[in-house]
Amino acid sequence: MSAHAEEEHFAGSNKLFTSIWIWLVLLTLIEIFLAYKPMSIPIMLTILLGLSIIKAALIVAYFMHLKFERLSLILTIVPMLVVCICLLFVFFPDSFRAAGLRYQFKEQPPAAEEH
């Protein structure tokens, strides 16, 4: 690839990148603010993960420049990563079952037999 083609390839101005950085800092401040707001864990987790996904998307799209790459590269990388991460969640419901299996310690645990 010629040097000229490479120069054209890197799109986005420093002004754009600075505005993205400001958005990222603002979203981080919102996260810290939310930490001290009383709310249930599932709602807190949903909001925090939502904000994190927005931040990650901004970083990938602008800082990592994926927005300016060919669609074929985006389609190769992003969907399969999303699908694989979703598949990792297959095991997650088991955590609620495991929570119910915890020993309650209502009485002293029996001493281990010596062999």
């Binding site: 040097a3 490479e6 120069e7 990222l24 939310l34 904000l51 990650a56 399969m80 095991f91």
Partner: protein, 226 residues
């Protein structure tokens, strides 16, 4: 239209060889694939961590100072390092090698600042008595539930594993960028871009580690201070 004629008119034989179908070089594609695989590593660790949180009583011990203040400043450092890195890549596309080196050195500075702050934070937790497989005694007494369920001792294991692996990535990235800064005159623009991709990925991972590990573990009621 015959099959042959259709083949001739098929636009840009991207997959026929001899061209870059993604319009990126093989090294950059390799870095993207590495980033995908590393994303899955961190995803697995973070999902495993959340599994443990959901299936156990979990300590939420982080006070506003030092933990949240430190981790917020660390986040600011990483975000700023990404900005300086993208400025460096932008300067590289203009062929301004002096500016490239300057911005990469600024990126390394922010990366090292992140590492130093993180190590201070680790040292603080270790001195409190946190180890990979046990909690400090006052955490156990504070976070034991009213029906006698003890907080999971795996807090330390998950905390040190995830933040430690991330710290390792930051340290590796700082060394990588130092090499790039030293050899900037010999490298092509795409090489600078590839180093930038790695650095932004390190920042990206922290965008999930920070809320899940730190924000979700804030000691909101100040229970430990009581």
């Amino acid at each position: 239209m015959s099959t042959e004629a259709r083949a001739v008119h098929f636009p840009a034989a991207d997959w026929g060889g001899g061209v870059h179908p993604y319009r990126v070089g093989h090294r950059k594609l390799g870095m993207w694939l590495f980033i995908v695989s590393d994303s899955l590593t961190f995803s697995a660790l973070l999902i495993g961590y959340n599994y443990l949180r959901a299936s156990n009583v979990w300590a939420t011990p982080f006070p506003f100072y030092p933990s949240i203040v430190f981790s917020s400043v660390m986040t600011f450092c990483l975000l700023s390092s990404s900005l300086t890195m993208v400025f460096g890549v932008s300067a590289s596309s203009r062929g301004d090698l002096k500016a490239v080196r300057k911005w990469i050195l600024a990126t390394i500075f922010f990366g090292v600042a992140f590492l130093v702050l993180h190590l201070i934070e680790w040292n603080h937790l270790i001195s409190e008595g946190l180890t990979p497989f046990s909690l400090p005694a006052h955490w156990v007494s504070t976070f034991t539930t009213t029906d006698g369920q003890l907080p999971s001792p795996l807090f330390g294991a998950t905390f040190f594993t995830i933040t430690g692996l991330h710290m390792f990535h930051v340290a590796t990235g700082a060394v990588y960028l130092a090499v790039v800064a030293a050899r900037v005159k010999k490298l092509k623009h795409e090489d600078i871009e590839i180093s930038g991709l790695y650095w932004h990925f390190v920042d990206l991972v922290w965008m999930f580690v920070f809320p899940l590990i730190y924000i979700m573990s804030v000691d909101v009621g100040g229970h430990l201070a009581k």
